[in-house]
Symmetry: C2
Amino acid sequence: MSAEPHHHRPSAPSWSTHADEALSRRGSRASAARNAVLAALDSQACCASAQEIHARITTDGTAIGIASVYRTLELLHGLALITRVDTGDGVARYEPAHPNGEHHHHLVCNACGAVEAFHDGELEAAIHAVADRVDFRVDAHDIALRGACRRCR
Amino acid sequence: MSAEPHHHRPSAPSWSTHADEALSRRGSRASAARNAVLAALDSQACCASAQEIHARITTDGTAIGIASVYRTLELLHGLALITRVDTGDGVARYEPAHPNGEHHHHLVCNACGAVEAFHDGELEAAIHAVADRVDFRVDAHDIALRGACRRCR
DNA sequence: CTCTATCCGATAATGAGTATCATTACCAAC
DNA sequence: GTTGGTAATGATACTCATTATCGGATAGAG
Ligand SMILES: [Mn+2]
Ligand SMILES: [Mn+2]
Ligand SMILES: [Zn+2]
Ligand SMILES: [Zn+2]
């Protein structure tokens, strides 16, 4: 199972590498706490809250302060290296923002709170069309579909 | 300026009337506090937070507890009579949900926090198409476009 | 190695939202 | 009109995510 899927890209640089570069370019330092947060973000499938990230890191044995997680997330968000996802439960979640613009949106279950990811090209096209039609410079879009997941239906 | 615009509808019942009916149908009682919240919601152009609603009511002379505002908003939201809008600043905002499904979405300025409303038929169509394409029962959708408003550009 | 800007983590403060509870208002039945 | 049951009120205590503070650690340039 070591074969590359589909196309040949010379080992796409991971998001955390990209983030590392952007951080050092900005004069930020590398540190254990920050590296741990970057690694945690890189390894997560979808969005995660500060506390979830902190829990995952400390479970791995590394001791790191919760304040450092919040600080790092704030820094990364300011540099547009992560995306904030707001599911409406009063907890901010974050996920890596890939430099090529690749992203997804979320299905939120009103019953159990589960969050699933989806992507749809036509929806993206519609969003971009609206962005042009409106008197506003649109930099980003947040979309969440709410309802019931398969298990809760 | 008392002419009806465009089409002839026999004085569309206001949202608060509709909400009142839904509440009494549910066995809820009318009260000063609740009426004040309904009136405030009915008179607002776009979404407002609990605290903003409370401030507007009390400025009008009526004394009402902030808890009643939160309670009423929770009740109305549970009955899908209002929509919660999450602009990402950790404050929940609400606006009337019209029974005919008429609604709008929001442009949020990252610089000054201003919130503008917009509506787009093609975007709605795209959203409904996605909702069918996805393994999830979609009841509602939240869309926010983020960027810079005209003044902050 | 030294120096200093940056970062760390512990902890206090903030603030939106929620839970509690004694009191009050409503309403239908008597 | 009184009463009893239920719902609503508002003051207040509380929860908990996030932010601010601050003395001590440290990366990393020179
Ligand atoms: Mn998109
Ligand atoms: Mn819509
Ligand atoms: Zn579910
Ligand atoms: Zn603005």
